[in-house]
Amino acid sequence: MELLTNQILAGIATGAIYACMALAVVMIYQAIDHLNFAQGEMAMFSTFMAWQMMQWGVPYWAAFVLTLILSFIGGIAIERLLFKPLAKAPILTNVAGFIALFAIVNSVAGLIWDFTIKQFPSPFGSAPFLGSQLISTHQAGMIGVTIGLLVLLFLFFRFTRIGLAMRAAATLPESARLVGINTSWMIALGWGMASAIGAIAGLLIAPVVFLEPNMMGGVLIYGFAAAVLGGLSSPLGAVVGGFLVGIFENLVGTYIPGAGNELKLPIALALIVIVLVVKPSGLFGHTVIKRV
């Protein structure tokens, strides 16, 4: 029983990372109906920027805030320069755009900071959380930040006019334009926010996996899985999906004999596929009825 609780807790802790990535994925998916394959690389690049600032002597929280601002601007710039021109292009063109962005960001990071792994500090430390051996203060911090982020996003989309406009632009672009919303800028804003959220995910995960250009590869797959499991339509779905994927993964690694570290990813993903077969719109998604 104690093993089970431990594994669930540990699952929630890793799940927090997936939840953060899934939040970023959902932000962009809502805006443009595509999964951004380069989301993880953008997050990695943001994390390197924070690391560089700290190397230059900037304190952690100042670097944190600066990185979020730069990532937000960077996300908007990527949308304006690369994806706005592709807005009316076929899906495959967009996919090619994402893959190109992935490769470019990855190799530019490698070029600037090389491929050796680097230590990255945690603002929460790594002591046992509240004296318990179950999770560390860093993991507890990660869970707290994820939930805090979710609450902020909820308040933003629910109670601000710009949040309302973003939702309108995402659900019915044509009607949104007819009430005077500049839908094109709403998409750019979505990219900026997704990029900043991804940066938070990167900063939280780097102390766990170490910093290097390929650090986000595995995480992004889990982030996608979490987003899809949650229904790709709501921040809440993304976060719950993230935690569930984290828990699945840990339980599979612990309880399925021989699964170990190699097989826990495929088995966890297979479980998710099964869930989606039963409920194709995801746990929190509503079935979208497209008018013809």
């Binding site: 309302l164 309108a168 009607s175 334009r177 007819l178």
Partner: protein, 237 residues
Amino acid sequence: MTAMLDIKDLRAYYGQVQALHGLEFHLKEGSMTTLLGANGAGKTTTLRAICNMVRSTGTIEFEGKPLSGKSTENIVRLGIAHVPQGRGTFTTMTVEENLQLGAISRSDRAGIADDVERMYDHFPVLKQRHTQQAGTLSGGEQQMLAVARALMLRPRLMLLDEPSFGLAPLIVRDLFKILGKINREHKVTILVVEQNAQLALELADTAYVIETGRIVMSGSAKDISNNEDVRKSYLGY
């Protein structure tokens, strides 16, 4: 006399297909005009062209200034509200959020709050349902919401595409009464596209009849509804 909206030689295209062939008409400030015509005549296309939602050539002047080259959202921000065919309701949002969205380009918070209340006075059923998802409203209620959402812009000109579509005759009368009131009391110029020619002609002061992308008849609503030939050949009643 300067027209509020002046349209000359308007041609519109869907890809290679030309839907409007040199349309000319104008709206007087404060008027209520109806655009009539059979299915596929180009009524929706005309309204879409005014808001730059379809590729078009020709000139469209609003209060003396050309609209060409302006984006849909900037045209709307000039004070042109468009209730599209099919209503364009944000079905996953609440009634109140739909009204707030109508006023999203305004920044006078107090005025917006007043206007929401005013809409609830015009359409009491919307007040009863203000926290309900708009998609759960009946067709008639959604049509009222669409009109109310458009009014939240405090428009100078309102374009309505078949507001009576799918509504029971009694509700259509109510809706048209409200439109008449908006036209007179709030000095909103209205251009309404209708299949229900008889009712539209009762309400409007000017009418245009459109056939395959051209204006084939224009005049006062009274003259057109009294002209039996026109009624028989174009309006079918």
